[in-house]
C-alpha cells in the first residue's frame, strides 16, 4: 500500500509544505528531510510522497522546476507558491487549535 497508514493525509501535505517553506528541494531531499525531522515517529513511505507532491502541485500550492543540484544532477525542485504559503498558515493554525484541544482533553482525563 502506498497510502500512509499511520499518517493523516492532510498532515503529510502540511509537513511537505512546511519543509518547502524553508527552501526549495527535490523529491529525494524532501523524503530525507521528512525522515530526519520526524525520526522514527512518523513513518512516511517514499511511495506516498510523489502522489502527494503531484496533488499539491495540481492545487497550485507548490511549483516545480528543473534545476541542477549540488551533486551536479538535473533534478526537479519544488518550491512553495504564494498560495501554498497561505495554505500552510491556515493548516498550521488549524493544527495548533486541534492539538491544543486534544491535549487539554487528554490532561482532563488524567486529572
Amino acid at each position: 500500500m502506498s497510502k500512509p497508514s499511520d499518517l493523516v493525509q492532510g498532515t503529510l501535505d502540511m509537513l511537505i509544505l512546511k519543509i518547502l517553506a524553508l527552501q526549495p528541494l527535490n523529491g529525494w531531499a524532501i523524503s530525507q528531510r521528512l525522515k530526519q525531522i520526524s525520526g522514527e515517529v512518523l513513518q512516511v513511505s517514499d511511495g506516498s510522497l510523489y502522489p502527494a507532491l503531484h496533488k499539491l502541485e495540481q492545487q497550485g500550492w507548490i511549483s516545480a522546476q528543473w534545476k541542477v543540484s549540488e551533486s551536479n544532477r538535473r533534478a526537479r525542485f519544488y518550491s512553495l507558491t504564494r498560495l501554498g504559503r497561505k495554505q500552510l498558515e491556515k493548516e498550521a493554525a488549524n493544527w495548533n487549535r486541534l492539538s491544543a484541544a486534544i491535549s487539554s482533553v487528554v490532561k482532563m482525563s488524567e486529572a
Binding site: 502506498s2 523529491g27 502522489p51 497550485g60
Partner: protein, 891 residues
C-alpha cells in the same frame, strides 16, 4: 476554488492533458533519480549494489502504481482514461463483429421503438400544432353538464363572457372544424376547414405568408365578412401557387369569399388528426353549421375553443377563475346554463379532437416500448456477460497487474456505452423513418387530409439520450458486477472453462431470461386481450344493417339554396335514387351513426314522468326522413315509421328507442303519449329497437327521432339500401346529382360497415401497435433463451457427454435441454402472470366486453410463449445430441 488558484492550475491541467507524454517522462525521470540516490545511500551504508537497489525499490513501492497514482492526482485522468477505453472498446468490438451486430440490432429496435413512440406522443399530444407558439401554455376549453363530464362545445355568447372574464388567460380563441364545398371551375370538391374567432392567427402566433389573418371585428355580425384564409397546401394544389391570389374571390358553400391570406407551409391548423385547408371567421358560421344563426343563441353549443394562459399561471388556478365565471353564467341565464360548467383540459386530453382517442393507446405504447427496451437491454447484457467470461483472463491479468476494480468497471461501462450510443443513433434513424407512420394505421378517407405527424425535437432527443445512458448502465453493470466476484489468484491459476459455469453467474443469466419471459408474456397477454376485444367490437351488431347500406352526403349549401329549394331538391333526389335499379330503400338523416358530428340534444319532459330533484333529463336525437328505419334495417317494435305526411304542417311526432321507453314510461307502450322537445310537445308514434349511435362501445342509452321536415337540416346524409355494388351506385348517384344541379358536390360514398370500421379504428391502431411491439418482444426474448441455452450446452459438454456415455439417447438429451429452457420460461410466466393480472386492468378503456383476467387470453399467451421457448431451444438441443462422448471423456 479561487480565481488565483485557477491561474495556477488551469495551465497545469492543460499540460497534463496535451503534454501527457512529457509529464509522464518527467515523472519517470524523477522517480528513477530517487531510486538512484537511495541506492547510492544504501551502498554507502555498506550494502552490496544489488541489495541496495532492491531495498530502494522496496522502500518506494511499485513504480507503475506510483506513476498511475500520480497521474490520477493530475485531475484529468478521467478524460484520458475515457479516450483510452473508447479506443480499446472500439478495437474489441471490431474484433467480434457477430456480437456487435446482434447487440446493435437489439438496441436499435429497443431505442428506436421508444424514440418513435416519444415522437408520436410529442407530435400528437404535447406539441400537436406545428408552427403554433407557446403550446405549453395552451389549454382546451370544454363545457360540462350533469352526466356529461367529457367536455362538450360552448355557445358563442358563453365564450365571449368567458373571454371577457378570464384575467389569467393571455388570450382565448375559437376553432371549430367544419367542411366546405369548394367550386373551382367545373369541379366541386369537399374539403376540411375551420370556423375561427377573428383573433385566431394572432393568438396562435401564426403569420400568413401572403396577405393577412383576420381583423378584429370580422367575427361579428351575421354573414357580414365573407373572407377566407387558405392553407399553403390548398394554395399550391388548387390555385397552382398563384402569387396574385390575395383579393381574388372563391365560391365556398353558398357564398363567394374573398381570399385574404395564405398560411405558412408548416401550419396545419389546430385539430389533432386532421389538416385544415381553409379558415373563415365566426360571422360566416351559418354557411357551414346546421341550425341557423347561432352567434346570439346562448343555448346553441357548437364552438370548440382554447385558452393561452398567462406565463406562470397553472391550469388549476385558471380553472378556479373559469368555474367562477361558469357559476355567474348559471345564475344569470338559468334557462340555458343551469348545471353547466366549463372545464379546462391539457392539450393531450383535448375532448374534441383525436387526442382523446389516441391518448389511451399512446399511454399503453409508452409502457410497451419501455418493456421492449428492457428485454433488448437484457439480451445485450447477457451477450456482454457471456463475452466477459471469455475475457475473464484478460480482466484478471489487468487486476493482477494492479488495475483497480473501479478502473476495470469503467472500462466495461465504456464498452457498453459505445454499443448503446450507436444503438441510440440507429434508433433515432429508425424513429425518424417511423415518425409519420402513425397515420398509416388509420383508414384513409377522401375529402379529409389526415395529419398525425411525429415530432423529433430537443425534448425527444434528450429522452433518447437519457434512455441510452440508462441502457448503458443496465447493460454494462450486469457483466461489471459479475467481475467483482472474480478471485484474482484463483482465476489466474485455473484455466479450465468449468470455472465460468459457476453457480452465481448462471443465476444472473437465468434471471435475465426470466425477466425477459415475464415482460414478453405480459405483452402477449395484452395483445391477445386487445385482439379479442377488437374481435368482439367488430362482431357486435350495431343494431342496423351494415354491408348493404351506403351513406353519403350532398352539400346543398354550395348552391345557395333557400330552405324551400332545399326541401324540393331533397324530395327530387330521393325519388330519383329510389327509382335507380337495385335500390331497395333510401332516406335522409341529419347524422349518420358512429360519425364525428354530434347529434342534436334537447332537455326533455315526459308526461307522467317525475324527474328526481336536480335531474334535468337531456336526450340526443336525430332528424330523419320517411323510410329511415326501413333503409337502415332498424326494427320498429311498435307503432309506425315517419311518412311524407309528417311534414311542417302536420302535428309534431317522434319515434323513441326501447331504452327511452324503459326509462321514462316504465316499459309501458308509449304510443300516443307526449314528450316535450325543445319546449314543444310532440306525440310518440313509434318505438324503435336500440342501436349504436356514437360509439360501438356505448351502453344502450335513451334516444329518439323526429321527422326531418319538422326540424329541418339543409345538408343531411343520404342512406341507401341496395343490392348493387358501391361503385355502381356511386356512379349513378353522382349522375343524378349532376343532372339536378351541376354545382353540387357529393361527399365520399361508403358502406355503413366502413363507417363502423372507422369508428373502431383507434382499437385497430392499438392492436396493431401492441401486436408489432409484442411480436418484437417475443422475438427478443426467444433470442435471449436461445443465447442462454446455447451457452449452457457449450459449457456442460462434459456432463452431456457423460450422460451419452452412460447410455442416454438423443431424445433423452433433447428432453434435458428443452426442459431446462422450459423451466426458465415457466418461472418467467409465473411472474408474468402476476404482473399481467396487476396491469391489464389499466387497459380498461381499450377493452370491450373482455375481462382483463380473461382465461383464454392467458391460455393463448401461455401456448405462444411455450412454443417460442421450444423453438428457441431446438438448435442448442440438437447441438447437444451431436456431442461426441468419446472425445469429451478423453479431454
Amino acid at each position: 476554488m479561487s480565481c488565483q488558484q485557477w491561474l495556477y492550475t488551469v495551465p497545469l491541467r492543460l499540460r497534463s492533458l496535451f503534454l501527457r507524454k512529457r509529464a509522464d517522462q518527467e515523472l519517470n525521470e524523477e522517480l528513477r533519480d530517487h531510486l538512484e540516490l537511495q541506492t547510492e545511500e544504501n551502498m554507502a551504508r555498506g550494502m552490496s549494489p544489488e541489495a541496495a537497489r532492491y531495498a530502494a525499490l522496496r522502500a518506494l513501492g511499485g513504480l507503475t502504481q506510483i506513476e498511475e497514482e500520480c497521474r490520477e492526482k493530475r485531475g484529468v485522468n478521467m478524460i484520458e482514461n475515457f479516450v483510452q477505453d473508447l479506443r480499446y472498446g472500439l478495437r474489441q468490438l471490431r474484433r467480434s463483429p457477430g456480437f456487435f451486430v446482434l447487440a446493435l440490432s437489439c438496441l436499435t429496435l429497443g431505442i428506436g421503438a421508444n424514440t418513435a413512440v416519444f415522437s408520436w406522443i410529442e407530435g400528437t399530444l404535447f406539441r400537436p400544432y406545428p408552427a403554433v407558439a407557446h403550446q405549453e401554455r395552451l389549454v382546451a376549453i370544454g363545457g360540462t353538464s350533469p352526466g356529461e363530464e367529457r367536455g362538450g362545445p360552448l355557445s358563442w355568447p358563453d365564450y365571449l363572457d368567458l373571454q371577457r372574464g378570464c384575467t389569467l388567460c393571455e388570450t382565448t380563441f375559437v376553432t371549430k372544424i367544419t367542411g366546405g364545398t369548394l367550386s373551382i371551375g367545373e369541379r366541386a370538391e369537399v374539403t376540411t376547414g375551420s370556423i375561427v374567432s377573428a383573433n385566431y392567427f394572432d393568438a396562435i402566433g401564426v403569420h400568413p405568408i401572403l396577405g393577412r389573418g383576420f381583423e378584429a371585428g370580422e367575427d361579428v355580425g351575421r354573414n357580414s365578412h365573407p373572407v377566407i384564409v387558405i392553407s399553403y397546401q390548398l394554395w399550391q394544389s388548387r390555385f397552382k401557387g398563384d402569387p396574385q391570389i390575395i383579393g381574388k374571390t372563391q365560391r365556398l358553400n353558398s357564398g363567394v369569399y374573398t381570399i385574404v391570406g395564405v398560411t405558412p407551409k408548416e401550419f396545419y391548423g389546430t385539430f389533432v388528426g386532421w389538416a385544415m385547408n381553409f379558415w373563415v371567421p365566426a360571422s360566416m358560421e351559418e354557411d357551414f353549421e346546421a341550425g341557423g344563426y347561432k352567434l346570439e343563441d346562448r343555448g346553441a353549443r357548437w364552438i370548440e375553443s382554447y385558452a393561452k394562459l398567462k406565463p406562470g399561471v397553472s391550469r388549476q388556478q385558471a380553472q378556479q377563475e373559469v368555474s367562477a365565471i361558469a357559476q355567474r353564467l348559471e345564475a344569470a341565464y338559468p334557462a340555458t346554463n343551469r348545471g353547466r360548467g366549463i372545464k379546462l383540459w391539457p392539450l393531450w386530453e383535448t375532448p374534441f379532437n383525436d387526442a382523446s382517442t389516441l391518448l389511451p393507446t399512446l399511454k399503453i405504447m409508452f409502457w410497451v416500448a419501455g418493456s421492449v427496451l428492457l428485454i433488448a437491454s437484457a439480451n445485450v447484457g447477457n451477450l456482454l456477460l457471456v463475452r466477459s467470461f471469455s475475457r475473464r483472463r484478460e480482466i484478471n491479468v489487468r487486476l493482477a497487474l494492479g488495475a483497480r476494480y473501479g478502473r476495470v468497471l469503467r472500462q466495461l461501462l465504456t464498452e457498453a456505452l459505445i454499443v448503446s450510443a450507436l444503438g441510440a443513433a440507429c434508433g433515432l434513424l429508425v424513429a425518424y423513418w417511423c415518425r409519420h407512420a402513425l397515420i398509416l394505421l388509420f383508414p384513409a378517407r377522401s375529402g379529409i387530409s389526415m395529419h398525425l405527424p411525429g415530432e423529433i425535437d430537443w425534448r425527444v432527443l434528450a429522452l433518447s439520450v437519457a434512455i441510452c445512458l440508462l441502457t448503458t448502465l443496465i447493460v454494462g453493470l450486469i457483466p461489471a458486477l459479475e467481475t467483482r466476484s472474480l478471485d484474482v489468484s484463483g482465476a489466474l491459476k485455473a484455466d479450465s472453462p468449468s470455472v465460468t459455469g459457476s453457480r452465481s453467474r448462471a443465476w444472473v443469466r437465468s434471471s435475465l431470461v426470466i425477466v425477459q419471459v415475464c415482460l414478453s408474456f405480459v405483452l402477449l397477454v395484452g395483445t391477445v386481450l386487445l385482439l379479442r376485444s377488437l374481435e368482439k367490437i367488430r362482431n357486435t351488431s350495431p343494431g342496423f344493417l351494415t354491408t348493404r347500406v351506403l351513406t353519403t352526403k350532398v352539400s346543398i349549401g354550395a348552391a345557395g339554396y333557400s330552405e324551400e329549394q332545399a326541401k324540393a331538391f331533397q324530395d327530387q333526389l330521393l325519388d330519383r335514387v329510389r327509382s335507380l335499379p337495385g335500390v331497395e330503400a333510401a332516406a335522409f338523416a341529419r347524422i349518420t351513426p358512429l360519425g364525428y358530428i354530434s347529434y342534436s340534444s334537447t332537455p326533455i319532459a315526459v308526461d307522467g314522468y317525475q324527474p328526481r330533484p336536480g335531474e334535468q333529463p337531456s336526450v340526443d336525437y336525430n332528424q330523419v326522413s320517411p323510410d329511415y328505419f326501413a333503409t337502415m334495417g332498424i326494427p320498429l317494435l311498435s307503432g309506425r315509421e315517419f311518412t311524407r305526411t309528417d311534414d311542417e304542417n302536420a302535428s309534431l311526432v317522434a319515434v323513441v328507442n326501447q331504452t327511452m321507453v324503459d326509462r321514462y314510461w316504465g316499459g309501458q307502450d308509449p304510443i300516443g303519449r307526449r314528450l316535450q322537445v325543445n319546449g314543444r310537445w310532440v306525440r310518440v308514434v313509434g318505438v324503435a329497437a336500440n342501436s349504436k349511435y356514437e360509439s360501438m362501445r356505448e351502453v344502450p342509452r335513451p334516444f329518439f327521432y323526429v321527422p326531418l321536415r319538422q326540424d329541418f337540416a339543409k345538408s343531411p346524409n343520404l342512406n341507401i339500401r341496395t343490392t348493387q355494388p358501391l361503385r355502381t351506385i356511386a356512379t349513378a348517384l353522382s349522375r343524378e346529382v349532376h343532372t339536378l344541379d351541376p354545382n353540387l358536390a357529393l361527399y365520399e360514398i361508403i358502406t355503413l360497415q366502413e363507417q363502423v370500421d372507422r369508428s373502431t379504428s383507434p382499437q385497430l391502431v392499438a392492436v396493431t401497435l401492441v401486436a408489432i411491439l409484442g411480436g418484437l418482444a417475443l422475438l427478443l426474448a426467444a433470442i435471449g433463451i436461445y443465447g442462454v441455452m446455447s451457452y449452457t450446452v457449450s459449457q456442460s459438454t462434459r456432463e452431456l457427454g457423460l450422460r451419452m456415455a452412460l447410455g442416454a439417447g438423443a431424445s433423452n438429451l433433447l428432453r434435458v435441454v428443452i426442459s431446462r429452457g422450459l423451466a426458465l420460461t415457466a418461472i418467467g410466466i409465473v411472474f408474468g402472470t402476476a404482473v399481467a393480472l396487476a396491469l391489464t386492468r389499466l387497459m380498461g378503456d381499450l377493452l370491450y366486453n373482455v375481462s382483463p383476467y380473461d382465461l383464454r387470453a392467458f391460455g393463448l399467451a401461455l401456448a405462444v410463449m411455450t412454443s417460442a421457448t421450444i423453438t428457441a431451444c431446438l438448435w442448442p438441443a440438437w447441438h447437444a445430441t451431436r456431442i461426441d462422448p468419446a472425445r469429451v471423456l478423453r479431454d
